[in-house]
């Protein structure tokens, strides 16, 4: 019965991703054009719309419909697994795990395959867009250096760093005292360290990036807060995993992590999906 919760979260994520983000990609392409050269976009609005729908792929009808199709296929497969049809087709020999595991694996595989396609189209579109939209001849920049401390208050940074310190120390303590239940604890402990490191690098890199409307983050401060939020979120997720390492198989940490992450991504996508529309409503009008 509880597999319906798993199915609902994964289905929501699939639906939101493939039915909403197809529109979002088109809006993002216009954001990118404006971000590259606002004057050019203002002077060539109609031409930009033609390019968006005909040349920049992400705005084309076939791209939107291919996203819808992938969404429909993904939803059908997830539903088939949930109601037991898929198991009969594949036979249980290929999947010895329980239904939630089959759902999780199928959802991950479908999402990864779809994302590879999606990002390939984004890359091609970005290249075409860079060719079509010239950079402005007059460019302006500040001579004031930007640092993380200029965007996030000291107390917030210190609290985040303290949380990271306590969390990573907890992994070391559990490992040193041998409180873990599975033998490959130390291998898995690389996860929190790697993710924390990556997020810290991204936080510092984001400060140096040019302020951009792309990805719906026109305010760099919002971007830095988002990365710090992700850092805190990652600590909480890995703390949950550490709890699972200590109590052993009685606590289904993988399932909880996947569901929580998916539910968070659904919320994040919903927020992001409506930001570009709010930013440039006059430009956003998919055919």
């Amino acid at each position: 019965m509880t597999e319906w919760i798993d199915f609902s979260v994964y289905a929501a994520m699939t639906a939101i991703y493939w039915f909403v983000s197809a529109h979002w990609a088109a809006a993002m392409a216009l954001q990118m054009a404006g971000d590259r050269n606002q004057d050019w976009l203002a002077a060539n609005r109609e031409h930009a719309r033609t390019l968006l729908f005909r040349r920049w792929l992400v705005g084309s009808r076939w791209f939107r419909w291919s996203c819808y199709a992938w969404g429909a296929v993904s939803l059908s497969i997830l539903l088939a697994i949930q109601i037991g049809v898929w198991r009969q087709v594949l036979s249980t020999a290929t999947h010895a795990g329980s239904r939630w595991e089959v759902l999780k694996d199928a959802h991950s595989t479908l999402l990864i395959v779809g994302l590879l396609y999606y990002f390939a189209v984004i890359v091609v579109s970005s290249r075409r867009l860079a060719k079509d939209v010239p950079l402005p001849e007059r460019r302006q920049a500040t001579l004031t250096p930007r640092t993380v401390s200029g965007f996030v208050p000291r107390w917030f940074r210190m609290a985040t760093y303290a949380l990271i310190g306590v969390h990573l120390a907890a992994w070391v303590v559990v490992g040193t005292l041998g409180l873990y239940s599975a033998p490959d604890f130390w291998v898995r402990s690389a996860g929190p360290v790697t993710f924390t490191g990556i997020f810290l690098v991204i936080a510092h890199a984001m400060v140096h990036l040019r302020a951009s409307d792309t990805l719906g983050v026109p305010d760099r401060r919002l971007g830095v807060y988002f990365v710090f939020g992700s850092l805190i979120y990652a600590q909480l997720m890995f703390a949950l995993r550490l709890y699972g390492e200590v109590v052993g198989p009685s606590f289904d940490v993988d399932r909880a992590l996947h569901l929580t992450l998916s539910a968070t991504l659904v919320l994040g996508m919903l927020l992001l999906a409506f930001v570009p529309r709010a930013l440039k409503p006059a430009l956003y009008d998919p055919a």
Partner: protein, 128 residues
């Protein structure tokens, strides 16, 4: 304080950056020990190749206007204003010497050159 570059101007972009930092130092907009953005930040904001900004910073460093202190960042040197003045004086001197050489080759005497210079200078001063 902002910096503006024109990519279609006859003056190379790195020289535009150097000139504007000189002007900012001279006018006091950039005070001694003031931090400057990283090469990555400035290149990203201006949508330029990093090498262009790095070249400008290298030139400013060679001129003694700025100081790059590793990971701490890049700063305006305490003696930057003096160095900028020196650079400007040096450039003016080079221009003058080139002009004088040309005039000497054309057979002008020291007195003639001095007279022409004084007359041109007073004309420009009156205009200016």
């Amino acid at each position: 304080m902002d910096i503006v570059v024109h990519t279609n101007a006859p003056e190379p972009v790195y020289e535009q950056i150097v000139r504007q930092i000189h002007d900012a130092v001279k006018s006091g907009k950039l005070q001694p020990d003031a931090p400057l953005p990283t090469v990555r930040q400035l290149a990203g904001d201006l949508r330029l190749n990093r090498n262009t900004v790095a070249r400008a910073y290298k030139l400013l460093e060679d001129q003694g206007v700025i100081l790059t202190a590793g990971r701490k960042g890049t700063f305006v040197r305490f003696e930057a204003a003096r160095e900028v003045a020196k650079v400007k004086t040096g450039r003016a001197e080079r221009l003058m010497r080139r002009l004088i050489k040309t005039l000497v080759v054309e057979g002008m005497s020291r007195r003639e050159i001095t007279d022409i210079f004084n007359s041109a200078l007073s004309l420009e001063t009156r205009k200016g």
